[in-house]
Every structure is written in C-alpha cells, then in structure tokens.
C-alpha cells in the first residue's frame, strides 16, 4: 500500500482559498435569492384578515344552564331562559351550525355532536324564520363517513338543513390580527362569509392533549391544511381560535360527558351522565362551566385561562349570573 501524498503548505492555502470563495459565493447567491415576503397563497386564494363577527351586541354575556337527560328539552329550556331562539335568529337569517363531526363513530359514544341536538337546533332556527340552515365541519376522519355514521347527516337533512362538506374550494387563507399561529392558514371559511349567524354545537369531552374538548376546541374543525402541527401548541391555537371566531351562540352539550380516553373514547364506560345543557353567548364562559362536568376547574385548562386573558370572554362564568333551569 502506497503512502498517502503529503499536502504542501501552498496546496493547503490554495484549497482553503477555493473553499472560502465557494462559501462566499453561496452566501451571496442565498442573499440574492432570498424572498423576504415568504411563500404566498395562489393568486385565486385571496387571503383575509379575521372572520365575520356573528355576535349580537345586545346579547353579550348571556348564559343559561339547563339540567335534564333529554337534550331536546334541555336545549329548548336553556334557550327559553335566554328569551327564546328569536333573540338570536331572525327571519331571513342564514344560519351556520358548526358541529363536531370529528370522528366516524356512532352517536352513543358521544365523541361527536349528538344528532338529536343538531336536529332540534335546526328545527328551532327554521321555526324562527331562518332562510337557510347549514351544518358544517371539517372532520378528523373521512368527512362522508363521519357525517353519515354519527347520524348527523340524516338528522340534519330530515330537519331541513343542508350539509356542507369540507371541499377544498371552501377554504381560504385567514390571518388572525395579532396572532402568531393563524397567519395565512387555510380555514373552512367560505360558508361563514355568506352567513348571518353562527352557532357552535359541541359535546363535553376529555381530550388527551388539550385536557378537554368543548366549545372552543370545536373551532379547531374550521382549520384546514396539516392542522395536526398545532397539537404541539394546542393551548395557543385554541386561544387564537377563541379570538378569531365570534359566534352568535355556543351550545355545549353535557348530557353525557366523555370522562376518559378522549377525544375518541370508544367505550360506553368512558362516559358519564352529567345531564347538563349549557347555552350562552360567551364560549369561554360556557367552557369554564363545562369543565366542572369533567371534574375540573377553568384554571385546569390553560386554553381557557389564555383565552380569557386575551379578551375572548370570561372564565368566571358566575359573573354572567347564569340562569339555571330544569327540563
């Protein structure tokens, strides 16, 4: 085996100079090629800042809690305690119901909004004079299977609503002013742009990552794209959603709460009858009350305290003097 050739000082200096020149050239090229504006959405996808505000100024800070095991009766009772659906939905309104159809699971597992509740709220909106009621979500599982196997599609259609599935052309890049996560992020927003009222309908669930999934976490279903990247920052993304989405009403169904193994559950033994329907105009307050059904306080859920601190609502629901009724 021959001896390796020794490098002379002259050769070493020459090679060093070449390497330095290559690095300098690469740096220059990188500087020239740098796009300071960053990636842009395609021209046809015009980005918007914020979403429409669906809250009704005269109805802010309202909260009602109805107890009972029949969610049709309790949602009616809670709404009546707030003055009736007519306070929130007027003749000619186009109402969007943002439900939780996240998983293709049967309704008895309570991983999704119960079809009986969806149907009743659709009927109430139509009775109040709504010209159209749309039921929408961007599920975690396959959308068609999710809407179908949860029983939501059938219930909503029978009650007179249209199902809006998350077709790609219904997403638009949205930025939350002052937000750090929701910046030009695709959102299932086009159905909202044609609506005059937005009502959230969510179940009360344990959530392995967020601690709980209720009204605020339900807005996660408006996100498109590779939204699971937000799981690492779940409290901040829910806080930003709380600031972004200003609904007319938040209906939080605690008739049966998923106490363990959420958000999917899978067993009836994950569930507990908690016989409570929470209806209000402040989703932060609704979730703070909902936390008690899971044996927690609002302080136990960082996204609630963050949302409240950011001005999205109040975590001290007692300040709203909730109306309590039995149904």
């Amino acid at each position: 085996m021959s001896e390796p050739k020794k490098t002379t000082r002259r050769e070493f200096l020459l090679r060093s100079a070449k390497a330095a020149a290559a690095i300098a050239a690469a740096g220059y090229l990188a500087r020239e090629f740098q796009d300071k504006a960053g990636p842009q959405a395609a021209p046809e996808m015009k980005s918007i800042v914020g979403l429409p505000d669906f809250s009704i100024p005269q109805q802010t800070g309202k909260l009602a809690v109805a107890t009972g095991s029949d969610r049709v009766k309790t949602v009616r009772a809670a709404l009546d305690a707030l003055g009736g659906i007519g306070k929130f939905v007027k003749r000619g309104d186009r109402v969007v119901l943002k439900i939780n159809a996240g998983f293709a699971t049967p309704p008895m597992l309570s991983a999704t909004t119960h079809p009986d509740l969806v149907a009743e709220v659709v009927r109430l909106c139509i009775a109040a004079g709504a010209s159209a009621v749309m039921v929408m979500d961007n599920p975690v599982n396959d959308p068609v299977s999710s809407f179908e196997l949860t029983g939501i599609a059938s219930a909503a259609r029978k009650a007179g609503a249209a199902i809006v599935l998350p077709h790609g052309n219904l997403f638009r890049p949205v930025t939350l002013s002052g937000g750090t996560l929701i910046r030009d992020w695709p959102m299932f927003s086009l159905p909202l742009e044609g609506a005059t009222r937005l009502i959230g309908l969510a179940p009360v669930k344990n959530h392995n990552r967020a601690g709980a999934s209720m009204s605020l976490k339900n807005w996660y279903g408006l996100l498109g794209g590779r939204r699971n990247v937000f799981h690492q920052n779940i409290n901040d993304i829910v806080k930003e959603l709380a600031l972004l989405v200003k609904p007319t009403l938040a209906i939080l169904d605690g008739t049966t709460a998923m106490m363990t193994n959420g958000p999917t559950g899978g067993s009836l033994s994950d569930l507990k009858p908690t016989n409570t329907m929470i209806v209000g105009t402040d989703p932060v307050a609704a979730d703070a009350f909902g936390a008690t059904l899971l044996g927690m306080k609002a302080d136990d859920l960082p996204y609630i305290t963050k949302a409240a601190a950011a001005g999205a609502g109040t975590a001290n629901y007692e300040l709203l003097n909730p109306v309590r009724v039995e149904a």
Binding site: R15, K18, A19, A21, A22, A26, L29, A30, F33, D35, P39, A41, A42, G102, F103, T105, P106, M108, L109, N138, V140, N141, D142, P143, V144, S145, F147, E148, L149, A153, I163, L165, P166, H167, G168, F171, P173, D184, P186, H207, N208, R209, A210, S213, G224, G225, R226, N228, H231, I234, T260, N261, G262, P263, T264, G266, S267, L268, S269, D270
Partner: protein
C-alpha cells in the same frame, strides 16, 4: 473542485428559488380528496379484507381497510395519538364491518402494531376502563358493554361496536378468538406482571409507564398496580434493570429525589434491613432493590407501605426474576 462545488450550489440555489414560488398544497389546502356527497349507509360489501380470516361469517366489510403510520395516526384518533406515539407505535390497521342483514349493526376493528408486547401492554394498561370485565380470549383482555380490548403478541386490538346487542358482542368475541388462534403471544412476553402479588391487587389496575413513572424521570419501564390493604389503598411499583448495581443506584437516585422534594427518611421496625422508608408530607414511600429489581410502595399509609412492601419482597424472592 471548487468550481464543481460552486456549480452545485448555484443549481441548489436555483431549485430553492423556483420551489418557493410553488403553491404548497399540503400546507395550504385540505389534503383529502374532495368528499363525495353524503349518502345513506350502504349495505356491507363482502369484498376481501386483510382481516377476513378472523371475521364471523355473518359480517362483511362496511368500509375499506385503512392503514396509518406514526406520521398519520392523528388523522384517525386525533389527540389520542400522543399516547401511542410515546409507546413506539409502528402502524394502525382498521376497518369497519357490518351485519349482512343489518348495516346499522356494525363494529370497527383497530389493530395497533406496537412493535413488541411491552409497548402493546403499555397502551392497553393505561387505557383500561373502570368497571370492565376480564375475558379469557387472551392473557390481557377485557370487555365493556360495547367494546373489547386485548393484547396479543405485539398487537393491541380494540373492537368497538355501534350498538349494544348480544349478537354484536358475540361477533366481537368470535373475531378476538380467531385472531388469537392465528397470532401467537402470551404473558411471558411481559414477565414483570407476574412479579406482583395477586392478592389483594385491584383487578385490572396494572399499568406500564414507558418513561417518567411516578413523575420520576429515571423510572422508565415502571409497572404499577393498586392494592387494597385493609381499608387503605396503596400502589406497588417495580422495574427490572440490567444489573444488580443499576438497581441499587436507582434506589439511591429515587431516595435522593424524595429527600429533595421534602421527604424525610424514617426508621421502620419491619423493613429496616431491606428497604428505605420516606415520609413525604404525610404519605409514605417505600423503596428497595432485590437483585436486578427495584420495587416499592407509593403514597400509602405507613403500615400499608410496610405490609405491601413485605408482600412484594416475598413474591420477588419466590419468583426470582
């Protein structure tokens, strides 16, 4: 040579320059295909399925089989994916099946390939439902009114029914039995479970923490189980290390952590020779090493800690891991 590097860098720079103007569909749009219209539930189709070998004859696939990798698992189970990822999940296969005569009577089978039996036991134990009933289809198996959960070899299996009927319950059990008849596996793959005294263990209370057991970062592969000692509840724990010296060092490290967190070491009449006992703000911790095994009692009354510790010690001496 330098010129070649320069050419390569220019080429890479040009590629980056072009790519940044391309619309990133994965980031900016829903990556799923446009969903079809929602149509009423279809009749199950008796097409081939990887799970067909285990399927009762009166069931047929209701949906196509789906496979999820660690990268896509959250597309199926959302926030619950974290649990499986922390236990080194390899793959999830799932599929729904329905009765040929009644499509509304369906069940979903989820088969998690966890890489090995210990990982499978970890996700099984931590999700164990209260008020569940042990069943004998596998060494680690239980059922609830609508579901069946078990470990077989490296697999953790969930079968969840959409209804509570005797027929669907029987179908779930048939599937589980056929699966276990075809896939090898037994409790010897997780030998630690037999190092615990069986009486008076709370049934179904055993959990395996892959890391950070009892909030202590050096407690990986830690098994715990709940006991009823008289009227008191207590938690026993154990972990098997590589060598006797490693076990002894771990006892010292845990003792040091307890002292650093306000614990006070106490003498004990019953266990002084083989264990260390700490009073941590009124709750007692007992810890000892026996060969390669570190074992102890967590958050118990003093008497219960000593009694359960003695039972653990005797069991370890009998079993000699």
């Amino acid at each position: 040579m330098g010129l070649l590097i320069l050419i390569a860098l220019v080429w890479i720079g040009r590629w980056v320059f072009e790519q940044q103007f391309k619309f990133n569909a994965a980031l900016l749009t829903d990556t799923t295909a446009a969903p079809a219209e929602v149509t009423p539930l279809q009749s199950p189709s008796p097409t081939a399925s990887p799970m067909s070998n285990f399927l009762p004859e009166n069931l047929a696939p209701l949906s196509a089989p789906e496979t999820f990798s660690p990268d896509t698992l959250s597309d199926k189970i959302d926030g619950r994916a974290e649990l499986y990822l922390s236990a080194n999940v390899v793959e999830l296969q799932c599929q729904r099946f329905a009765h040929l005569s009644d499509p509304s009577s369906w069940m979903e089978v989820s088969i998690y390939d966890m890489g090995d039996a210990r990982n499978a036991f970890a996700v099984y134990g931590i999700q164990r439902r209260e008020d569940s009933q042990d069943i004998d289809v596998a060494d680690f198996a239980y059922k609830t009114p609508n579901a069946l959960f078990f470990v077989r070899g490296k697999f953790y299996i969930e079968i969840v029914a959409a209804a509570v009927t005797e027929r669907i319950t029987a179908d779930m059990e048939t599937f589980a039995k056929r699966f276990c008849d075809n896939v090898p596996g037994d409790r010897k793959s997780v030998p630690e479970v037999d190092l615990f005294p069986t009486d008076p263990m709370v049934p179904g209370s055993m959990i395996l923490y892959m890391k950070d057991g009892l909030g202590f970062e050096q407690f990986d592969n830690l098994f715990i189980a709940s006991y009823k000692i008289g009227n008191e509840e207590a938690t026993a724990f154990l972990t098997v290390r590589g060598t006797d010296a490693e076990a002894a060092d771990l006892v010292k490290a845990y003792a040091k952590a307890l002292l650093a967190n306000g614990g006070v070491e106490e003498q004990t009449a019953g266990a002084d020779e083989w264990a260390r006992l700490f009073n941590v703000f009124g709750a007692y911790e007992l810890v000892f090493a026996r060969g390669r095994t570190v074992a102890g009692v967590h958050e118990a009354e003093k008497d219960a800690a000593e009694k359960l510790g003695s039972m653990l010690l005797k069991n370890l001496d009998d079993k000699k891991p």
